[in-house]
Structure formats: C-alpha cells, structure tokens
Subunit: 129 residues, 2 copies
C-alpha cells in the first residue's frame, strides 16, 4: 500500500510517516519503483504511534511502547512504569499551568482594559522580585 492510502488509514500526514521511517519507528518495504510499500503491520504500528502521541507520549516513549507491544515476553509492569511516569509529568504540567493561569486571570481581571495607559498587568511584569 502506498503512503497516501496509509496516511488516510492511520490518520497521520504522509510527511509524518516519512519522518517516522527516518527515525526508525517503521520500516516499510520498497516497491520496484522506489515507492514505500506498507504492510498491514506497518499500518498497525503507525496507528499505534498516532494514538500514543495523542496521549502525549514522547517519541522515545512511543518507541519503547512499540517495542514492548511487539515483545511477547514483556511484563505489563514495564508498560505501566512508562505510562505512570508520563502521567506524573502530565500532572506536573497541569499543576504548573493552573498556577500560571490563576496569576494571569487575577491580573487580567484587575486590568480596566480602557483607553488609559495605567495597567496592573504591566505593573506586575515590571515589579522587582
């Protein structure tokens, strides 16, 4: 199957698929004309990758997860460890954003937003600490 169809089926841009090949996440065969020839297993992998990426896993995590997926002798603990670490990172990111959001919201709230130059937002940004 050519890259165009694979792109549709896996829900990934062709560019991305080529990139994934570049970095060794998939290894499609080649037809005589030089076109990439994807097997069903490649499409499966690509869909897996696409889904893992929507969960926010890094490419390296995806590589690990894919390896585990293909490894019959894996232990689910290995998968869980990767996911748990990522979950922790996501939690931290959320906490960080929330705190940022609160400060920001207060400032926006305090700003009149009129034609005068006086602005608590700028005042805060300019303050010392």
């Amino acid at each position: 199957m050519n890259i165009g169809e694979v792109s549709e089926r896996a829900g990934l841009p062709a560019k991305t698929i080529r990139y994934y090949e570049d970095i060794g996440l998939v290894r499609p065969l080649r037809s005589d004309n030089g076109y990439r020839a994807f097997r069903d297993s490649d499409i499966h992998k690509l869909a897996f990758l696409g889904r893992a990426r929507t969960f926010g896993f890094s490419i390296e995590d995806c590589r690990t997860l894919l390896d585990l997926y293909e490894d019959e002798t894996r232990e689910s603990a290995q998968v869980k460890a990767v996911a748990q670490e990522h979950l922790a990172a996501v939690d931290e990111k959320i906490a960080q954003l929330k705190s940022m959001r609160e400060t920001l919201a207060h400032l926006v709230d305090a700003c009149q937003g009129d034609h005068r130059p006086d602005c608590p937002i700028l005042k805060d940004l300019a303050k010392d600490p």
Copy 2:
C-alpha cells in the same frame, strides 16, 4: 555592567540574554573591549522579559508587551487583549491535558503492572478507531 552580573540580577542565563539581544529584545551598549555594557534599563527589560516568560507568554507576545510597556501612549485595553488571548490559550491547553490525563489515569489504573504480558494500556493503544 557585564553580562555575568546582569545574568544574576535578572535571573536569566547569560546565553538567554545573548539570545534576546540576537532577536532584538534588548540592545545593550558595547564597551571598548567588546563586552556588552548593560544599563539599568536593560536589566529592567530583561527582568520584565523573564517574568513575562514565566507567565508563559511567547517571545512575540513578550516583544509586544515590552513595546507597550515603553509606550506612554498605550491603552490598557491593548495589554489586556494580549493577556486575555494568552489566558484563553492556557485554558485550552489545561483542558486538553486534563482530558488526556483522565484517559491515561484510567489505563494506568487498569493495568496490573505485574510480570505477565497482558496489558490494557497496550491494548488501548493498539485498538482500531
């Protein structure tokens, strides 16, 4: 003042300060020996930038905010608009992360994390849609 001291005072790595000069956010003078010579106003700007960055504003937003800060004829509405837009983006990001987090948490929860290969996380990643 040399970059080392400025770095400490503004709380930004020297590398970052040089980068900010590169992209035109600050324009320190130069001493005869070629060293950057920062004025108080430069340090102020850098601190402003550092703080704006901790709020998650993009470099381009920072540039705008800095321009507004220096413009006596600004209207606070302009500042508020920038901040509000950013706040909306942050809110969206948080929502996105939260939804991701929930799915992820469910999967992690469902996974035994033992020595057996069976794993709902991988199962979910591999599923069709």
